[in-house]
């Protein structure tokens, strides 16, 4: 949706870059260096792979389907694969359920192990030394810095990923979402919620029209 009113100069510039891109692609295809199919495939792959959308689908399904949720918590790898998300180089996928009394948060203290197939690529802070070292030592302080203040009554569990096990958090379904279906729940599930440094978003805090 491109509803903005561009000036005509801007429109012309847009046409120019679109044309230049098309020309570059056409030329390289003509020279046999690439094919349009490969580019299609790459774009699809990165759009799908980089974002946390896969994980959000897993969470929304678990929120709306108790059987799936049980399978997910029992065997994360298999349940995630049911939705077609595979390929974490043999690492086992373990899903941790947040409850009113337990909050899980994921880290990789050694490097930056991360559940790629579901969460895409890790944010920069996840790989930072500060996060890796501090979330283990003082998780509540770190979570508060992320804007998540947990009551003392909630137990915080920190899970250290490694090459064999990748963790993902199943956040609590936000209150007031009982009437929402799976598709409407997906946008509420953020990457940060699945790492455990945030809660899933309440529906009214979603960015609206902006």
């Amino acid at each position: 949706m491109t509803q903005e009113q561009h000036g005509s100069d801007h429109v012309q510039a847009e046409i120019d870059v679109a044309l230049r891109t098309k020309a570059l692609e056409a030329l390289l295809v003509e020279k046999g260096l690439i094919t349009t199919d490969v580019i299609d495939e790459i774009v699809r792959l990165y759009e799908r792979d980089i974002g946390p959308l896969n994980g959000a689908k897993v969470v929304a399904k678990a929120w709306t389907n108790t059987d799936y949720k049980r399978r997910l918590l029992e065997n994360g790898t298999a349940a995630v694969a049911e939705l077609g998300f595979t390929g974490s180089q043999g690492a086992e996928m373990v899903v941790l359920e947040n409850t009113p009394t337990v909050h899980n948060v994921v880290v990789c203290t050694l490097c930056s192990c991360y559940p790629w197939p579901v969460l895409g690529l890790p944010p920069t802070w996840y790989k930072s030394f500060a996060y890796r070292s501090r979330v283990v030592r003082e998780p509540r302080v770190v979570l508060r810095e992320f804007g998540l203040a947990l009551p003392e009554s909630v137990e915080v569990r920190v899970w250290d990923s490694n090459s064999e096990v990748r963790y993902m958090v199943l956040p609590e379904r936000p209150a007031g979402t009982e009437h929402l279906g799976e598709a409407e729940l997906i946008p509420l599930v953020t990457r940060d919620a699945m790492i455990g440094v945030a809660n899933a978003q309440a529906p009214q805090t979603l960015p609206g029209g902006e």
Binding site: T21, L24, L28, I34, V38, D40, E47, I50, P52, L119
Partner: protein, 128 residues
């Protein structure tokens, strides 16, 4: 290369060269941006250049644009980087690019065909 997962070195580009995202996902404001992205990645996968060649070029392009107050967008700078690199690596010449752009502009005038690739609803197996 095309093993079915995103290349970390590409996806994890940092700071000013970081890919535009929203909620962690890639954001393309227009179809050409996605094509320009795919082109740069495809050429790298083909071994036309190392990714660091591209990312360093992009960093320079961004720094130059910012220093001169050029309001160009991320993917406009991306495209400029890609064109320069393609020319520097001898994959195409400036003249060829200009000629092709003229040809494409002409074609656009005749057909309203913004999507030159053929529609295919199914996935192919392994790619090269």
């Amino acid at each position: 290369m095309m093993a079915g997962t995103a290349d970390e070195r590409i996806a994890n580009m940092d700071k000013q060269i970081a890919l535009p995202r929203k909620n962690g996902e890639l954001v393309f404001e227009a179809p050409w941006e996605a094509r320009a992205f795919g082109l740069a990645v495809a050429l790298n996968e083909k071994g036309a250049y190392r990714w660091s060649d591209f990312s360093q070029g992009l960093a320079r392009e961004i720094a130059t644009a910012e220093a001169s107050g050029d309001p160009s967008t991320y993917y406009e700078r991306w495209l400029a980087t890609l064109e320069s690199l393609v020319i520097a690596k001898g994959l195409a010449t400036h003249e060829e690019l200009d000629a092709m752009a003229a040809e494409q502009a002409l074609q656009d005038g005749h057909h309203d065909d913004a999507h030159p690739h053929h529609p295919n609803g199914h996935h192919h197996g392994g790619t090269g």
